[in-house]
């Protein structure tokens, strides 16, 4: 096995500054789940095909299972753990809860982060925009109708 070097990365996760020594070949999903114990970000396909591991990097949705942690040096990362504030669900989380956008829940953190990324750049998206923004996230409970309804409700709540 070729040698792997280590480096120091400095980044912000859910508003808190972190500085860690990591291997060059460490994936962002493993950094979040194993090093930072932020296990809300799920591992699904491990190949960038399901979106379960979606997080926001500098406000944009990113697939953390195919992202090198080293490439996130200096970045602002948001995960599902940072959405609820002071015990209150975020607007998107609340909408998913109230409109049954969650079934088994495995895809939900990725869905919510993708939706969060959409609503940060488009305050009042139509259904086509919502579908496009969630196009990289799979739900095997086939609950897409409720999920889209939840995102629409979150957008209305944020108006």
């Amino acid at each position: 096995m070729p040698e792997t070097t280590k480096r120091i990365i400095s980044l912000t996760i859910n508003g808190t500054r972190h500085e860690d020594a990591i291997s060059d070949n460490l994936l962002l999903v493993d950094y979040l789940r194993e090093d930072k114990r932020l296990t809300g970000t799920k591992q699904g396909c491990d190949g960038g095909e399901c979106g379960a591991c979606t997080v926001l990097v500098d406000g944009q949705s990113r697939i953390s299972c195919i992202t090198l942690a080293a490439s996130c040096h200096g970045c602002d990362i948001h995960t599902i753990e940072g959405q609820a504030q002071n015990g209150r669900l975020s607007a998107v989380q609340r909408a998913f809860h109230e409109h049954l956008g969650t079934q088994c829940g495995f895809c939900t953190p990725g869905m919510i982060m993708a939706a969060e990324g959409l609503l940060r750049r488009s305050a009042n998206p139509d259904d086509d925009e919502i579908r496009a923004a969630l196009g990289g996230n799979l739900c095997r409970c086939t609950g897409y109708v409720k999920i889209i309804k939840s995102v629409r409700a979150a957008a209305e709540a944020l108006q």
Partner: protein, 331 residues
């Protein structure tokens, strides 16, 4: 812990010269752009470079400009940035359309034009886990000596499935390459050859610096892109077609067509006759459909039948050409 990546060192050059020097120092390296193809392949054991050279920190590779010579796109420009550029959406419609429908939003936020042009070819027998491929005695493309798609042949039939190559080819794009022997500029169409195991005509240690597209007269040119795939997102194209329609002052019309997903290289459709003023356009569409059916060569590289892909991409080409011609006629 997930299926981890093999060990490697990450080098982050800040200039093209530094990237070239890094590759010269470590010839076993691979260039890394968005990583949406390479990282996945590394996780599947399809590539084990000792060193990755990350091109994203090179400012020269991160720009979109337009001048009298046309459109210039840095190779590390992301698909999202290209797709959102208003000038590209207006003048190079096919390019924006292709960017909008590649993979999913999380991919497009990091995937780059250079990476998309250099995508690895794909096959049912190749894009699998290591144990799956090992149990099948690997394949001609990687570590094996037989093509499971065409066992009697000696050539890998894995198709190229990038979406940006055909749209840039119909617009007559050129690419600038950098390597140990300096820089050179070639037609994008000349980057590819019909060999699934070695489909890029890059010299050793070369990489794409930028893409250059000639200027377009928005009044007389229309272009578009269409593809067929299993799902409406994430999936690579089973087959894709880019069409450019150029109406001349004398009323004649020229169609330029490029195909992807069907052969080991994206290619420009040959033998397309210009449409004379007053000529029945349906005859031209018939010719396009027949030429596509004749020149594409889909194989059993996907779970979808090769025959379906041949017919589908021919029908898509006809439909797209008709729509573009109608749009031009409407002004």
């Amino acid at each position: 812990m997930s299926e981890t990546l093999p060990g490697f060192r990450l080098t982050q050059p800040e200039s093209v010269d530094q990237a070239v020097a890094a590759m010269r120092a470590e010839p076993d390296s691979r260039f890394l752009a968005g990583g949406t193809d390479l990282i996945v392949n590394m996780r599947r054991g399809l590539a084990e470079p000792k060193n990755l050279i990350d091109l994203n920190g090179i400012a020269e590779l991160r720009s979109i400009t337009q001048d009298v010579d046309g459109l210039h796109i840095g190779a590390a420009q992301t698909l999202r940035e290209i797709g959102e550029d208003e000038d590209i959406r207006h003048r190079y419609c096919a390019v924006a359309q292709a960017c909008d429908v590649i993979a999913g939003p999380g991919h497009r936020n990091v995937a780059t034009v250079g990476g998309n042009l250099c995508l690895d070819t794909r096959c049912l027998y190749y894009n699998q886990s290591h144990w799956w491929r090992k149990s099948n005695n690997f394949c001609l493309k990687y570590k094996g000596d037989i093509c499971h798609v065409a066992p009697v042949g000696k050539r890998c039939r894995a198709p190229f499935c990038g979406d940006l190559a055909p749209v840039l080819m119909v617009h007559g794009a050129e690419i600038e390459l950098a390597g140990p022997d300096g820089r050179r500029r070639i037609a994008l169409a000349d980057l590819y050859e019909e060999d699934g195991a070695d489909h890029l005509r890059l010299a050793p240690q070369e990489f794409i610096v930028s893409v250059h597209v000639p200027p377009v007269d928005a009044a007389s040119v229309r272009s578009g892109y269409a593809k067929v795939r299993v799902r409406g997102a994430i999936d690579f194209p089973l087959a894709g077609t880019a069409v450019l329609c150029n109406k001349h002052d004398n009323g004649s019309m020229v169609f330029v067509v490029a195909l992807t997903g069907t052969n080991s290289r994206p290619f420009l459709l040959g033998g397309v006759d210009p449409v004379a003023p007053g000529q029945n356009l349906d005859e031209a569409f018939d010719q396009l459909e027949k030429l596509v059916q004749k020149q594409v060569s889909p194989q059993r590289t996907t779970t979808t039948a090769a025959h379906y892909r041949r017919l589908a991409v021919a029908a898509l080409t006809r439909r797209l050409a008709r729509e573009l011609a109608a749009d031009l006629a409407d002004g």
